[in-house]
Assembly symmetry: C2
């Protein structure tokens, strides 16, 4: 099996947010598709170790901000490269709220979808949520950002291979998690996004 | 709710094929996403009235050919605009077969994924299948076709509005089903893909 074949599935890039009690949080995800009409339903797959996944299980509601082609890397970094267990990602943000009182992203975003979970299935690494769409709003006429364009245009380029330099760590190409050490164990899985060692790239000494 | 917001979700375009006993069939779909790793699983949503949906329920296996940017409209037309209940879509095709003996598309396709269903959920209009990936192959280095590019570059353009001509029918913008008659009932749903009247465009007399 050549797992690279799976990289050819097309996705968007989203900020997935929720609110459980007084706790608000959001993360970056690339998996959402409409799976039914009448009533309109979507499916999302969320990494089980993500704090947002726990919070959606509690709240049963979420908002999906569809990032557009104007998206800049700091937006991805803010929601994707730190955990809501450590910081309040909304502390200094002026974010509008949806019909469920959930903050969504009012910038670099072409649309927002407000959803109520109707079923969920634990698939090991991820939980699949099926949700009814309660509200949907267009925010701009910009084209949505695709995951392919995020990889080629938004994400900073990896360092070129440097033959004469030592490897000091390994970076997950999916979520940017950094493993410190010159040798990455072959059976290593990213503790943030669950991807295997083959999805890591070397970090060279300065 | 502005349902146009949902058009901003990004998708690929696929030929979904299966084989149940001696019957082979395939249809066009735009919904597939990876939903777990270790084991690698994908989810697909298939319209319940599609023959391919019935056949996957019987066989429990399917192949997903990921169409690439070289895809031409006749390929979409062949698999998407006729039913396997009426014609054998593979009758005159030289199609390779996957690990499960299912034919896949060997042209205009960048990758093929072979899957075994592990669970399914009926969502009214569609059935959501969760499946384990048994095999995956890269077929070309061409970029995958996105649903947005299919709509803007591959699909033939609709006729311009012709003020002085009579409307003789309505065409579903999603699947090209044709309703014959000058007035489309407001509560009409496409019998092929289930989309509502607002997704139809007028066909004018010649």
């Amino acid at each position: 099996m050549d797992k690279k074949a799976l990289y050819n599935l097309s996705y968007g890039v989203f900020v997935l947010t929720t609110k459980s009690g007084d706790v608000v949080n959001g993360c970056i995800t690339n998996t959402c598709m409409q799976v039914a009409n009448s009533p309109t339903r979507v499916a999302i797959a969320v990494i089980n170790t993500n704090y947002t996944c726990d919070l959606i299980k509690e709240s049963g509601v979420f908002a999906l901000s569809i990032l557009d082609e104007t998206c800049m890397f700091p937006t991805i970094q803010h929601f994707g490269f730190q955990s809501g267990r450590d910081v309040n990602k909304f502390e200094n943000l002026q974010a509008p709220t949806d019909v469920n009182g959930i903050p969504y992203i009012g910038w670099q975003t072409c649309a927002v979808i407000s959803c109520k979970v109707v079923s969920k299935e634990d698939l090991g690494s991820h939980t699949l949520f099926i949700a009814e769409v309660e509200d949907a709003k267009l925010l701009s006429d910009k084209a949505p950002l695709t995951y392919a364009d995020y990889q080629s245009k938004v994400k900073p380029k990896p360092q070129a291979k440097q033959e004469d330099k030592k490897i000091v760590g390994w970076r997950c190409k999916i979520c940017n998690y950094v493993y410190e050490g010159s040798e990455l164990p072959a059976d290593f899985s990213c503790p943030l996004c669950g991807h295997p060692a083959e999805d890591f790239e070397p970090i060279y000494e300065k």
